[in-house]
Amino acid sequence: MLSFENISNAIHNWLYHSFSPTTALWLEFVLVAVCVISLFSFLGLVLILMERKVSAWMQVRLGPNRVGPKGMFQTVADTLKLIVKESMTPDGADKLLFNLAPFIVMIIAMMLMAPFMFARGFQIWDINIGVLFFTAVSSISVIGILMAGWASNNKYSLLGAMRSGAQIVSYELSAGLSILCIIVLTGSLRISDIIASQENGWWIFKGHIPVIIAFVTFIIAVTAETNRAPFDMAEAESELTAGFHTEYSGMKFALFFLAEYINIFIVCALGATLFLGGWMPLHVGHWQGFNHIMDYIPSSIWFFGKTFFLVFVIMWFRWTFPRLRIDQLLNLEWKYLLPISMVNLLLVTLMAILGWHF
């Protein structure tokens, strides 16, 4: 059967047969980089189009419908427009950091792609601390935002960056705690182990109410961590015009924009991996026929389907809720999410020790 696993293994074997190990390693690096970058641009285009369509349909509008069939090439046209636009650097800005910041944000988003399992046996780097790698690297992205905000020499940008810093640092805690719930249940940090542990059922079904609470906490926390509405304090259009990327234009703005959507994809992919079983198809108890039909759907479709469902939920939040205020945002984290997820982690630990999960 033609699957991602076979293709990648074939390429790997061919490279190591044809070249010396060093050359083969370099070639693999280049190949992976090309794959990740093209996946990036494709995801960016698709997600931005999806956001526009979702927002339009929720707001009783049509959305983009001019460029290409049903407006499918609208984001391509927008990207072209952004590429040819002039990239301005404001007077008094720290030019080096100002130009560096979008690339930092972008590179971190790219690095986060590494440990994910996109399909059965298809993974860039099966690192043994997979989930920890994710939480670690994603915490750097706040520096990119702080750099952008400070280097712009703009008070709105600075305020947005400060807000973003406070927000991301605090919401990492509850995101981390809800990830820990699943780690406690699986006993491994490795992404492939976590997916393998869900062979007989996804954690969200196996783990009773505590895991559902962890899932809800996770979704809220990552919405905040990616600076999405209702937690878009860093941008807060009606308050800070555009927050930390007020001064950016052209391609550098496009990089921020792209990184935002890639980050959404990544956190949703993580949610799908941890709670919804990654590429594992939906299996229901002893319904053999049903399970067989589900197995026929390719694993990559399962993974992307789950991820895009979560992406849709996050977009649904954005187009429904008003924005929180900065102190309420921190209240929500420290007074509600953190205590709840701490108690929840205790419950999950109890459950794991007593073996109450299925």
Binding site: A56, V60, T320
Partner: protein
């Protein structure tokens, strides 16, 4: 315990209120065929404006190239912005008497606020509002219009 109970009911109340809003947007998402926006340049042919819509002042002419304007300047006086300027001349009537008539009815569209006062003031209903609304031009001079067509004359019987 009352504190804990209040805390939990707070959380659930919040989730319920949020779910209510999400249900509404979810409903609109799944019923996205009913849209409120108009696909403007596409529906240009079918777009119907009400007959009272005030787009621009025009002077209707009949098939004999005749209009109803006597040049009384009532509209010019009624206009708050100086949008209308009437230049009169003296026609020689068939019976040999000199008669006042309009030479040019100058209408400055760029000054007009579509307040309808000129139409109200006109005693002979010579001018009316047209339903056009796309007034943009490349040269500002094009916005200064002459409303009476060349060679037109006043209809018989209108004083």
């Amino acid at each position: 315990m009352s504190f804990l109970g209040k805390y939990i009911s707070n959380v659930f109340g919040a989730i319920r209120s949020l779910w209510k809003g999400m249900k509404l947007t979810g409903y609109y998402f799944t019923h996205h065929k009913e849209i409120i926006t108009q696909q403007y340049p596409d529906n240009k042919d079918t777009l119907l404006l009400p007959e009272r819509f005030r787009g621009e002042v025009v002077m209707p002419h009949d098939e004999n190239n005749e209009h109803a304007c006597t040049g009384c300047t009532a509209c010019e006086l009624a206009c708050p912005n100086g949008t209308i300027k009437i230049i009169t001349k003296f026609d020689i009537a068939p019976d040999g008497r000199k008669k006042k008539a309009i030479d040019t009815f100058v209408y400055h569209l760029e000054l007009c606020t579509m307040c309808n006062l000129c139409i109200e003031a006109c005693p002979t209903d010579a001018i009316k509002m047209a339903q056009t609304f796309e007034h943009s031009v490349f040269d500002r001079n094009e916005l200064t219009k002459k409303l009476n067509k060349p060679g037109s004359r006043i209809r018989e019987g209108i004083e």
